[in-house]
Symmetry: C2
Subunit: 274 residues, 2 copies
């Protein structure tokens, strides 16, 4: 459904995690993501500070994967009118904590009263050399960072009324900002894993009319685990050693699991939102 | 409630209709506004094209009143999953129609499924000389454009289950873009009337620690009519003739109704959202 809506707008900037605009000096990347109660989370799953922090992180993830440094944020926040002062401050603290950590200035936005907590954030980021989703080339090796699968496990726990650990990536996505910045010059195409590895591979497949020859089996559970916010990228194999060296330095686990080939790839996951 | 939340972020850019960022060449104005079903409108009041158009217009209003020209838009749209193809196209057409009219490029955003239609738009605008809310000075004459009051009348009609005219400003706000661009150099402070003239006067009063001496009586109904999207501005009285001349040329009605004075102003309206 969203695809039909998006296809009505045929602007060349649409299709990446952010839109790159060339100004006279430098390139600016604009990205925007929504984080809605009862779409992305339930109110009793996370504290308000965790919700605001995660809303920021999933937006910053878009900038990171485009090799852009977020500088400014606009927050559109629809707030339940039942919230008391402490809740409002907790919510604000979540935004501020992450903004401070990533040196982002919160410059404006809009707040309204609503029945549910709905957050949309726009980030304005700067990049000398943006990386894009498009660009994967036959023969490229395909890699994702970190471990995937735990977010689906934790989401299933939450849906069953169980608790999850505070360190869960469902609560606090681990962005690989420093690592990606260092490897960006070797990267041919990149996307963050927001809907699940399978979904993102299908996106790359459709954009560049490519397929993937798997060198490692990835189980369905991991393939369909959304909101991992790990990075999926492809590189020319000649850069593999350099990229692995940087990953080692930065303490980031890499999983080379496929090679870009002809053909096409279609995922076998269900839509992951509850 | 929103004020308490906003007060947690003490960035110098917050407080205007948009945030002005000085780049090496030129100034960019970033503004963001939400337009939510059951907060700003009910689904049976407007067609989907009208809803999308109005969401764009109320955002463009922020840029207009800062003397900025919108260039790019990011759309965050939460769409009810019940919508069929025709509805999605109608919705998209509303965004596209206004984008075309104002030469705005829709460069990205985010779409999600939701129970209600929730739209947040971020505009990226350019300005050589932005106008701000702050700056009103004792002795300035205070003016608003157009006629106010009809939007409250129409909103009351809708709340009573009656129909309103397609030309209603509740459906299609009338922006005064060309007029305001021409008078901007004479303007000392400006704000668009989104919450009602009374609310906006109180905002100016609080920002610059000023009051208003009324030269014309404005009835409570008009004072408290929200979503007018007319422009409230102050000028040095010596520019009055020039501004009136431009208004006459552009076919814009002006209402000079007060003079900036000492003291303070507090509105006597109820919150206007239903």
């Amino acid at each position: 459904m969203e695809n039909l809506f998006i296809s009505q707008f045929n602007d060349k900037h649409i299709g990446d995690d952010g839109a790159v605009i060339y100004h006279k000096k430098g390139k600016w990347v604009y990205s925007s993501d929504s984080f809605f109660e009862d779409v992305h989370f339930r109110a009793d799953w996370l504290s308000l500070e965790q919700i605001a922090s995660k809303a920021m992180l999933v937006n910053i993830s878009d900038a990171v994967v485009m090799n852009a440094r977020p500088k400014y944020a606009l927050l559109n926040v629809a707030i339940p009118s039942s919230y008391d002062k402490t809740q409002l401050i907790d919510l604000a603290n979540g935004f501020k904590k992450i903004a401070k950590k990533f040196a982002i200035q919160i410059i404006g936005g809009d707040t309204i009263s609503n029945d549910k907590l709905h957050i949309s954030i726009t980030l304005i980021s700067k990049s000398k050399n943006p990386t894009y989703r498009t660009g994967a080339t036959t023969g490229d090796i395909v890699c994702y960072t970190g471990d995937i699968g735990s977010v689906k496990t934790d989401l299933d726990r939450l849906l069953n009324g169980q608790k999850i650990d505070k360190q869960s990536k469902f609560i606090a996505p681990q962005l690989r900002a420093k690592f990606f910045k260092k490897i960006a010059k070797y990267v041919r195409s990149a996307i963050d894993i927001s809907d699940g590895l399978g979904f993102e591979l299908e996106r790359l497949s459709r954009i560049d009319d490519i397929g993937f020859k798997f060198t490692t089996d990835i189980c369905q559970h991991n393939m369909c685990s959304g909101e991992e916010y790990e990075i999926l990228f492809t590189i020319n194999p000649k850069h593999k050693d350099k990229v692995q060296h940087i990953a080692h330095e930065q303490g980031v686990k890499l999983n080379f699991f496929a090679v870009v080939s002809g053909g096409k790839y279609r995922h076998e996951c269900r839509e992951h939102h509850f």
